[in-house]
């Protein structure tokens, strides 16, 4: 089951690279986070780890429900541009994305002997590179912020797959940081409204 969720996780990230509308990007982010939460829950059942189950639930509630809703609210409140044209054209993206995936598999190849689930690590690392590509290909601030949130998801995936979960206090700290990130974004948009 984890493999299927992992596939959907990567698929939603790749699709979001081709998205040119902001709300649709939020939806893909929500779906991506949903699959991330499901991966955490699935791994927690495999390992019989209650902490990871809690983290998975928090991920689904916060990242696939609250954060997309808050971002949608910010977009409407500050009337942000909803068309997000890509600075890298689609036909180049079609080449770049598989290249990134192939490069990452090559990069992680030496650890395949040591780790049974090295493919998960590969997907997490490639998600990082794909999220960085998402930041690079967009010029609007909102979509760049989404790129950062996708990076956060790939970090989380790495934490789940490569380490079988980080200590609880660290994961909660990361959630708090994420919330502060959203608060800072809100504060940053404010003067624009006053202006």
């Amino acid at each position: 089951m984890t493999d299927i969720f992992m596939g959907f996780f990567l698929a939603t990230l790749i699709i979001s690279l081709f998205t040119t509308r902001l709300f649709r990007l939020y939806s893909w982010y929500a779906l991506n986070s949903l699959f991330l939460g499901l991966i955490a829950m699935s791994v927690s059942f495999e390992l019989d780890d209650n902490e990871m189950l809690i983290v998975g639930c928090i991920t689904i509630i916060m990242k696939s429900l609250i954060i997309p809703f808050v971002l949608r609210d910010i977009t409407l409140k500050f009337n942000l541009q909803r068309s997000i044209p890509l600075s890298i054209q689609n036909h180049f993206l079609v080449i770049i994305v598989p290249l990134i995936l192939a490069f990452t598999f090559y990069l992680i190849e030496p650890i395949t002997i040591m780790y049974l689930q090295s493919n998960y690590v590969t997907i997490a690392v490639s998600s990082l590179f794909l999220s960085l590509l998402l930041i690079m290909e967009h010029k609007t601030v909102a979509s760049k912020v989404l790129g950062f949130l996708f990076i956060e998801n790939s970090l989380f995936l790495l934490a789940i797959s490569a380490t079988k979960g980080m200590p609880m206090i660290i994961e909660l700290g990361i959630f708090v940081d994420l919330m502060m990130f959203i608060v800072v974004i809100n504060l940053l948009f404010k003067p624009q409204e006053e202006k």
Binding site: F148, T163, I169, D177, M180, F181, V184
Partner: protein, 458 residues
């Protein structure tokens, strides 16, 4: 030991109330007391560990915080800030220092990252305390670049954790366990993690190819933000690099040396020419900060711990002072060097001159000694290898680049001192701030202090 966080929490709480600004500045200086206590009384628990290295870095950062908070007294008159903006500054200053203390004192890589993230996010809002379109755009830029850098750091930390977890279990998050068990660590995965962490740290310090973002941000923000960046934030980042590079040194020293030297020398190359073309004080000092950061990491990986720490401390005192003195130097025009030291009085001219000449390592600046020891360490590290001539070439190349920086600073200094310009006004709190930093810098060349710094890593 949790009392160390108390001053920052008090600052955060008081920032919500109506309090006299001078009182607030003096409350903010209380951050120095726990730092002094911890410098002499080391302690540890599950998540925190105070040793010579982080106690020293915390003390240096606290002195910088004291200087910055005293300089805040004159800021409303200097920049025309409103009370609400000053309160916002203190709120985020409190969060910033809380995060930094957490980061510096933690023995846990995860907590280190959380502290760093708090500090990064709090500075985002500080950049646009004095609102302008430039500051607004730069704060967005900082949010994005800072977030990418910090994400790379966390990504690297997770990879390091996954590389060491089979060996150390939950202890794999501790810096000390990593250093103690470095010989048994799975090299490949750890190295990928280490290089990602280092890249994130180097981006945050403005290394090549991300040279310009930090200069733009410091240009757009109020002067105190530049001081906090160069004096405190970079200290915490360097501490993380110091700790992890000690492990990488055991895992694969050749990779560490190659990676850091290539990164550092490329940065020095770019920055020296950018300094040569600098048109204003803020960018000049900001780029010079990047130059010094690259020297510190090069000295550290070469085994010149004393040189790196002395250089770090000197930079942490001199650079914030220069950023704060820019408020005086730029009081008439931003993009001007001519006659900027004219008419500010004898003592302030002497203080600023001392700082400007100290930053280019003119003796008896501590930076002069740190560079001598640093280059010595570089040569020593190559004496037993087959790369001795290459290392000599590298030292000469770095000296050549530093001479460009030296030439530019001397030219600007002469232009500022000897050419005609409009007289500027300097406030008493600004003189006090500069005096604190000059005294702190001079303290570094006292023999007992030099001995204490030398003893940190031995």
């Amino acid at each position: 030991m949790y009392f160390v966080f108390l001053p920052s929490i008090i600052i955060i709480v008081l920032s919500f109330f109506k309090i006299n600004q001078i009182v607030m500045s003096f409350v903010a200086t209380s951050v120095i007391f726990p730092a002094i206590y911890l410098f002499f009384n080391h302690m540890h628990n599950d998540y925190f560990m105070v040793d010579d290295l982080n106690a020293f870095i915390l003390l240096v950062s606290s002195v910088v915080a004291v200087g910055v908070s005293i300089s805040m007294i004159s800021l409303p008159y200097r920049l025309g800030l409103k009370k609400k903006q000053i309160k916002h500054f203190y709120l985020f200053f409190g969060i910033f220092f809380l995060g930094l203390t957490l980061s510096i004192l933690s023995n846990n890589m995860g907590l280190y990252w959380i502290g760093l993230e708090f500090a990064t996010l709090s500075t985002v809002y500080m950049i646009k305390i004095k609102y302008s379109t430039f500051a607004y755009n730069e704060s967005w830029k900082y949010l994005i670049v800072g977030a990418i850098a910090i994400s790379l750091i966390l990504f690297g930390i997770i990879l390091i954790y996954s590389a060491t977890k089979p060996l150390l279990q939950e202890q794999a998050m501790d810096f000390y366990s990593l250093i103690e068990n470095a010989k048994m660590i799975n090299g490949y995965l750890f190295e990928i993690g280490f290089f990602l962490v280092s890249t994130g740290m180097f981006i945050k310090m403005g290394f090549f190819p991300m040279n310009l973002w930090i200069a733009d941000i410091e240009r757009s923000a109020i002067y105190q933000v530049g001081a906090l960046f160069s004096g405190i934030l970079e200290s915490a980042i360097l501490l993380g690099f110091f700790r992890l590079s000690e492990v990488e040194k055991v895992v694969n020293n050749a990779h560490l040396i190659t990676f850091t030297y290539v990164y550092g020398i490329l940065t020095l190359f770019m920055v020296s020419f950018l300094i040569y073309r600098a048109k204003d004080y803020m960018r000049l000092f900001s780029l010079s900060g990047i130059e010094h950061m690259s020297l510190i990491v090069i000295f550290w990986v070469s085994g010149g711990y004393f040189a790196a720490l002395l250089h770090f401390a000197a930079h942490a005192f001199i650079k914030p002072a220069l950023f704060l003195s820019t408020a005086v130097l730029e009081s008439h025009r931003k993009y001007n060097f001519r006659g900027t030291l004219k008419g500010i009085g004898g003592t302030p001219t002497l203080l600023i001159s001392m700082l400007m000449l100290a930053i280019i390592s003119l003796p008896p600046s501590p930076m002069f000694f740190s560079e001598i020891y640093g280059f010595k360490a570089m040569i020593e590290s190559a004496t037993l290898s087959s790369h001795f001539l290459l290392m000599v070439g590298v030292v000469f190349f770095i000296l050549l680049l530093l001479s460009i920086v030296f030439y530019k600073f001397i030219t600007i200094y002469q232009e500022a001192l000897y050419e005609e310009g409009e007289p500027s006004h300097i406030y008493r709190s600004e003189i006090l701030t500069l005096s604190i930093f000059v005294v702190a810098t001079l303290t570094l060349i006292l023999p007992p202090v030099l001995q204490a710094i030398e003893g940190i890593m031995s």
